[in-house]
Amino acid sequence: MWNWATHPISGLSFLGMVIGAVVILLLTLLVVMYSIYWQRKLIGWIQLRIGPNRVGPFGLFQTAADVLKLLIKEDVIPSKADRVLFLIAPILAFVPAFTVLAVIPMSQHHVFTANVSIGALFYLALSAITIHGVMLGGWASNNKYALIGGMRSAAQMLSYEIPLGMSVVGVVLMAGSINLNDIVIAQSRSIWYFIPQILGFIVFMIASTAELNRTPFDLPEAESELVAGYHTEYTGFRFAFFMLTEYVYLFAMAGLFATLFLGGWSGPFLPGWLWFALKVFLYISIQFWIQATMPRMRVDQLMTFSWKVLLPLALFNLVITAVLKAVV
């Protein structure tokens, strides 16, 4: 049933694939639910509040209650909106967010995920599709806040994708492979790449925060000026899918971060999936910590920072890595 990677496809192994994908979907929804809970709890503690504590023990069912509430809310479509695009946009944003999880090696044997030979490139290529969903959603709403939010989001994600991609090239250079599982194996043989690739690591950390539209780069949905940004007009479950996209990307980016710089599933003593989970938890917690600590950037600094600071840094890192690799 689980031998589809080494044998030709059969009915049973196809069933195994479907089960694997469903397991990953359920896991993703669980991770998203509890990362939202953890976000509210952690930021609550940082700000000397208690955080959610009413629904279920320690407020553990808070997010489930919120999702249920969104499901029974009326679905309002503005009469001026471009109806077809308005309906497609949340799906267009969500599908690539979930699909990128297919290539992240969550454990040593890739039980539920695909061992794609171009993993890192696949992630970057697909994550760019979400920009279309966000921008279409903003434009189709026919709302000024949504339009500005969508445009900002697109420009920001485009600008920060370049340094993100460049910092990944440094890792690919060291590992000699684009396959994410091979990158993890290469790290388990030598050293986790955040030490030799410290510059790329810093660039990746900043650029990924911007890619996720999280504080201090949450300009696309700056509440104080744009109400809610590109999803201002979205209600009920359509809004929920935009939020879901955001948190699925948080999980996926945490997985990519762990895989590229922290050795993925590799580590001593503990089983692979637990190491992976710990590293994902670390990244998600750092994101929430940053969110509680940093003020929002100014819009005029945003683009300049990506092109004038991060891109030269990433290029510099790339040249150094290549030269060192050629000499040593």
């Binding site: 994908a21 009326e74 709302n143 370049i162 090239v169 092109w307 290549a322």
Partner: protein, 122 residues
């Protein structure tokens, strides 16, 4: 051949599942659970509580298109760097020099955009 294609079959299943989840919850389960009482006032565009003025489908500040142009240049560059990086250990010094020349030409482009104040926000 199946070693190559089977992972992509799994990716295709992920795509189908990714479409299935929003479609089933928005169009199948949702209508049963949620109320549906549309009214003209509810369907007006939101503009901080006042009646919306004009339309949002207007000509938009072209500031962003310059970033889009730069993006295309540098994204294609990144795309070229991936296969180079993956096979660098087999190609050796020659590939390094080639890529340095390539990067140098692109850095000239970046410096040009910088000097032309394209990267500035005004």
């Amino acid at each position: 051949m199946f070693q190559y294609w089977n992972p992509y079959l799994l990716v295709a299943i992920f795509v189908v599942l990714g479409v299935f989840l929003p479609v089933s919850s928005i169009w199948v389960i949702g209508p049963i659970l949620r109320p549906n009482k549309p009214s003209a006032a509810k369907q007006t565009t939101y503009e901080s509580g006042v009646d919306p003025i004009g339309d949002a489908h207007v000509r938009y500040n072209a500031r962003y298109y310059l970033f889009a142009l730069l993006f295309v240049v540098f994204d294609v560059e990144t795309l070229f760097l991936y296969p180079w990086a993956a096979s660098f250990h087999k190609l050796g010094l020659f590939a390094l020099v080639e890529m340095l020349i390539f990067l140098f030409m692109l850095v000239i482009g970046l410096v040009y955009a910088w000097r032309k104040k394209v990267l500035e926000w005004n």
